[in-house]
Amino acid sequence: MTQTMLETDPLVIDGIPLGSRLIMGTGGAPSLDGLGAALLASGTELTTVAMRRYSAPAAGSTGGTNLFDLLLENNIRVLPNTAGCFTAREALMTAELGREALETDWVKLEVIADEHTLLPDAVELVEATEALVARGFKVFAYTNDDPVLALRLEQLGAAAVMPLGAPIGTGLGILNPHNIELIVSRASVPVILDAGIGTASDAALAMELGCDAVLLASAVTRAQDPVAMAQAFRHAVIGGRLAAQAGRIPRRTHALASSAMEGRPDL
């Protein structure tokens, strides 16, 4: 299926075709082995990582496999993020570290207002997007579900806009489907629904609303069976995408029989 999607309906960002429209985060997984299995099951081809201080592998750990190696071994493209940054200045520095360490211009820009909401700080986000674009980054801007702000970020040069469905880690799904639809309808860059996804139907809905991709982490890594949930999301994203393209029937107030009334036997 992945192969088919890559050939017929790839997600193209910055000229790079991706066969999967499911972008994975890596936060919340209890072990690297479990994470690897879930990533493979998800079929993802692009996965976010955070940049943090290097610490030597724990004594007794097998081999030296780290997260970066895990992604390289599985041909998964890496998307460094600026998680944990509260200001544009911090986000710029973190983005530069990610570019240097991982040798990619792609960055998922997160500038968070506070630890309680984890909501994007719009002012810092705009400033950081402008500065990163000027420095040659391909910015994936994590944003509020605000159609005005999303369009501004695109105009500033973001390679993709990533409106949230609900606050990070809440699993509340898509709280404002109307706004997501509005963002999609006006965007000329890929729209990636990011954050708030709880279960497969949320991801399918995002795709049905017209999003180009879905990014999630906790919904898989913190599920009781992460591998099974990763498979569920893999199928949900494909299903939602196909449904969006297929053209759904209009909603009606009254029933509409699907069987003809003529020709009924006289019983």
């Binding site: 936060g27 997984a29 940049m51 943090r52 890496v78 520095m93």
Partner: protein
């Protein structure tokens, strides 16, 4: 004793140590003068010195100085 700050902790500094030597010690990987690992793999590490990024190509030419503030970062689970 001469020291630097390494990832927020005090670290001894031997005279003449280069940034390349420090990164090799911390990561346990032998580094080429280009800053790339001698084993042909990818290091996945970036370095900031006194809040400025030092590209890997300059690590071997950068001598550490007393009280340098060094941050060595890598990709971890997140997002």
């Amino acid at each position: 004793m001469s020291t630097i700050q390494l990832n927020g902790a005090t670290h001894p500094l031997a005279a003449g140590t280069t940034l390349s030597q420090l990164v090799a010690t911390v990561t346990g990987r032998e580094l080429l003068p280009t800053g790339k690992p001698a084993d042909g793999g990818r290091l996945g590490v970036a370095v900031a010195r006194n809040s400025g990024i030092v590209p890997r190509s300059q690590w071997s030419a950068t001598a550490l100085e007393l009280h340098d503030d060094i941050e060595i970062v890598t990709a971890v689970q997140g997002g």
